[in-house]
Structures are given as structure tokens and as C-alpha cells.
Amino acid sequence: MSVNKTDISQIKKYLNGQLNAKAMHALEKEAQDDPFLMDALEGYDTIGKDQSANWEEMKGRLTERVNPTERRSAVVWRFLPIAASVLIALSIGLIWFMPRNDEPKATTAKTLHQVENNNPAVDKQQQPASQASTPIAQVIQAETIPVKSIRAASQRVASRQHKTKLNADGATTGRAETADQPAQTIAQVLANRAQNLELQNAPAPPVNKTISGTITDPTGHALSGVKIAVKGTSLTAVTDTNGLFIITGPPAQGTLSIAYAGYETRQVPLNDTNNMKVVLKESATELATVSVPGYVDDDKSSHESHPIMGWKAFRDYLKKNAVMPDGETGRVKLAFKVSADGSIKGIRVIRGKSEAMNQKAMELVLNGPEWRGIDESKELKLKIRFRRAKSV
């Protein structure tokens, strides 16, 4: 099959009346055999305006669609080398400063101060301050270790600072450790640092456990708005549109109470699982709050699509309206599906009487009372009987 029998430019020229009669005929003949082209030409004819700008726009949008990440990652990739160079320059600069000094203590202190001063985010009052400067100090320390002369210097520094009090407690501790173990590799030092940090960082509120799960009905559909409560506590949650709930900080032992209108409440023991799956059974008693005339307490209604007003009321509606203007009687059997938003899909006649009656039957369903779609994939069958109008 040849690729592009119809040039876009040909179509454009045709629409602009730029083709001669022969070329026009050729395109029209092609359209006779190509419904795609035929429909498209019809569409352009309907609008009548030149579409070049729109064609360009769509081309651009398609290109965007296919390559959007390039721009974003370009930004990231440009940023990374810059950030890396800055860091390296900083650490090199700091290393350079270190060995030149005969008074390492002063310099180190000065450097620390410099670092602290340069760090605008540091709040001297609080613990985080020492931790902010500590990593940088650690970087300095880590960088200096392999160089022998510097190591010696830091040893001197450290031993002197056993006696010196600096405002950053964490920093002091860290440095002391370095001095005591001069042969450590960078990795070990950093690991120690990390441990220190952790100890310092642990003001220890207990780590919050969470319990989560999903609630569904027996057919597997997620239930939203289900109330979850941990008995004996004030912990509650409500499921979202996916039936998911999350409870933080539950006790180790306990019971979850799961309640939802129209369904049987369940008590489920708390276990450590982070993905409970609970299926709620429909309650045998109907909702008392909503009274819809003709609503039938019927298990079938909850599993199948049905008219919102209920089958009994719908049957009444049919009885009143399934009347042909010419008085024709008969039966029409229809099949259709109801989607989640209540709209009718794929309505068809399984067995009909006459064209007019079939049409009327379909209309009664399509333009009649609202439907509740329960299972979108299940096809509903409906028999409609047309009678003669009752004489008043």
C-alpha cells in the first residue's frame, strides 16, 4: 500500500480552490474510494476556513507530546555540573587554607566560624545549627585525612580542642574522634559521623506506625466514605474514592470498627499488615433515611443496574407509556447496559414487532426515568408490552 497517496498540500490546495479541474477530479475520485479522505474533506467543507494555522499548531503539540522531557532534563543536567563544581571548589578552597596555618586551632575555629557565618540558614540557638556546620566540618575533616601533614595538624587541633569549648557541641565530639583514630579511612570516619549525627538527631518521638487498607463490596468495587475507627481510641479515618484508608499511630493491639450505611458493620482485629483488604456485606435492612416510592428491598437491585425509582415504579411507567399512537400491540425485548453515570449504552432490540414499536420501546428506556448503573459490563434485558390505551 503506497504511503501517502494524498498529499496534505493537495488537500490544502483543493480546499483553497487552487487546483485545476483535472486535479480536483482526481482528488474527488480518490475520495470516492477512500472514506477517510471523504469524511475529512466533508469536515473541512463544513468549517470553510483555512486551517493552516491549526495544522501547524497540532504538529507542534504532537512534537511537544513526544519530547517534553528534553527541556526539563536539560535544566536538571545543566544544574548538576554547576552544583558539583561549586562543591568541589569549596572543599578545595577549604583544604588549601588548612595546612598553611601554624595555628591550626585558630584557623579551624575561624574556618568554622566562617562556615557558620556563611551558612545563612543556621540558627545558633538550636541543635540543628551544630548539625548544619558539622557536616561541613566533617567534609573538611574527611578531606584532610589522607594528607599526612594535615592529619598531623588536625591531631594537634583535636587535642587542643579537648580543652577548648566551642559553641557547637556536636562539632567538638566529632573532631575528638577523628584525632583518636588517625588511621581511619574516610569511609569509616564518615560512618562514625553518620552515627553521631543519628544519635544527636534522635530526640526520639517514637516512629509512627501506620495501618492502611482497602474496603470493597462483594463484587470488588471500592467503597468510599466508609468510617474506620480504632475501638477505645479517638483514631478515625474515612476511605477515599479508591476505598483506601490510612490510620497513623494505632496501638499494637486493638480492633478496627468498619461501618458504612447499607452494609454490615465489621470488627476486624488489628494486625500489623499495611494492606488490609476488607469486604463488606450488604446489610439486610434497607436504608431508612431515603424513601423512594417503589424502592424494592431486593438483593437483585444492589447487584444489577436498575431504574432509580425502582422496578415496580418503572413497570408502572411502562404500563402507562407503552402505547402506540395507532394502537398497535405487541412485545419488544430490549437489551442494554447501564454505565456508572447512569447513561444507557449499546441499546438493541433482541426481538421486536414493528420498526415503529421498536423505536418507541427504545425511546421509553432512553428518555424515561433515570437509571442506576451497578455493573457496567452486564447487559440488562427488558421486555416491554405495548397495549391499547385505556379509555378514560
Binding site: 500500500m1 503506497s2 504511503v3 501517502n4 494524498t6 496534505i8 488537500i11 479541474a21 483535472k22 480536483m24 477530479h25 474527488e28 475520485k29 470516492q32 474510494d33 477512500d34 472514506p35 477517510f36 479522505l37 469524511d39 475529512a40 474533506l41 466533508e42 469536515g43 473541512y44 463544513t46 468549517i47 476556513k49 486551517q51 491549526n54 495544522w55 499548531e57 497540532m58 504538529k59 503539540r61 504532537l62 512534537t63 507530546r65 513526544v66 519530547n67 447513561s343 444507557i344 449504552k345 449499546g346 441499546i347 427504545m362 432512553l366 428518555n367
Partner: protein, 190 residues
């Protein structure tokens, strides 16, 4: 004519090759290139059903998404006709609001592809029967069909010559073709 065409344009992969390449590499750019070839047609179809430029532009992008979602799931024999069905189905779905449209199943598009086979070529095979059938056509249809197929006149010319409106010309040709087809089929059955 075909030779001239291919020497002018750079060698381009055909639909099947592009499609296969996409399936193997997953390179979106391939699929986009393929789609780009027919974007004008897809847009035109959307214009026909949705009758709105902005809506149609959005629809064209959405249909690309549909394409992306479905291209690996279906055995596509003719990309162009499959895309046509996809586009039409999407537009019809957009128009839903209460009315029921028969959506052509994407699996059955092969039938559609067969219909793309030029009808007139099939008609030409029965020249004698054709002549007889043409005589039976209502005059307006006979006239327009002759002018279009035999004299190779475009719609505009036919309209000017006959005084019919453009739409009437198109309609007469459509109906004429259909009647000829029916007549010939009846003829074949005999």
C-alpha cells in the same frame, strides 16, 4: 507519475515499517511520525463530527493517546483504515449524550479495508451489464455519474454544467453508484 514522485521525495518508510519499528523499539517519535502522516485526515474527520476547530484540535491529540494505548493490542493490517475507525469511534463517543451510535469494533476493520478497494474497478469488470444498468438510472444520477467517471469532470464543473448544487451533485453520484452496484449484483446472481 509514481516514478517521478519517488525520485522527488526522500525514501520514506511505509506505514507497516514504521509501525513495526515502533513496536520493536517503543520509540514514541516513530509513532508520532506515522500519526503525522494522517493528522490532516484525522483532523478533518473530527471537524466533520464535532464541527468545532478547538474541540477537533484537542480530539486529534486525544486520538493520539488512544492510538498509543491500543496500537499494541490490536493486529493492525491496514493502519490508515484502522486509524480512520479509531478516529470516527472517538468522535462518535464525544457526541454521545443520550444517542446511541453503533461503534465499529476495532477488530473488524479488515472488512472496512476491503471496502476501500476501488468500487469502480469492480464495476468496470461488467462493462456490458454496466451499460444496461446505467440506462436504468434516473436521469440526474446517470448524467452526473457519466460526467464524473467517464468525462472525469470535477464536482464544480458538473455543478456548473448541470445547474445542480454541489451537494446535489455529490448526492446523485453517491446514489447512482449505489444503484449501479445493486443492479450489477442482481445481474450477477442471474
Amino acid at each position: 507519475m509514481k516514478f517521478l514522485k519517488s525520485s522527488r521525495k526522500p525514501v520514506e518508510a511505509d506505514d507497516d515499517t514504521l509501525l513495526r519499528n515502533y513496536r520493536e523499539t517503543g520509540d514514541l517519535a516513530m509513532l508520532a511520525r506515522l500519526y503525522e502522516r494522517y493528522m490532516t485526515l484525522v483532523y478533518g474527520v473530527c471537524l466533520k463530527y464535532l464541527k468545532d476547530e478547538e474541540l477537533s484540535k484537542d480530539a486529534v491529540m486525544q486520538i493520539f493517546e488512544e492510538l498509543l494505548a491500543k496500537v499494541n493490542r490490536y493486529d493492525i493490517k491496514q493502519f490508515k483504515s484502522w486509524l480512520y475507525t479509531l478516529s470516527r469511534n472517538y468522535c462518535l463517543m464525544q457526541l454521545r449524550s443520550g444517542k446511541k451510535w453503533e461503534q465499529e469494533s476495532l477488530d473488524n476493520v479488515m472488512e472496512l479495508a476491503v471496502d476501500l478497494h476501488p468500487e469502480y474497478e469492480a464495476l468496470q469488470d461488467d462493462l456490458a451489464a454496466l451499460e444496461r444498468c446505467k440506462e436504468k438510472l434516473p436521469p440526474a444520477q446517470k448524467l452526473t455519474v457519466n460526467m464524473f467517471y467517464l468525462d472525469e469532470k470535477c464536482y464544480k464543473e458538473i455543478a456548473e454544467h448541470t445547474g445542480y448544487s454541489l451537494n446535489e451533485v455529490k448526492s446523485y453520484i453517491q446514489n447512482g453508484k449505489r444503484n449501479l452496484k445493486i443492479c450489477l449484483e442482481k445481474n450477477r446472481e442471474r
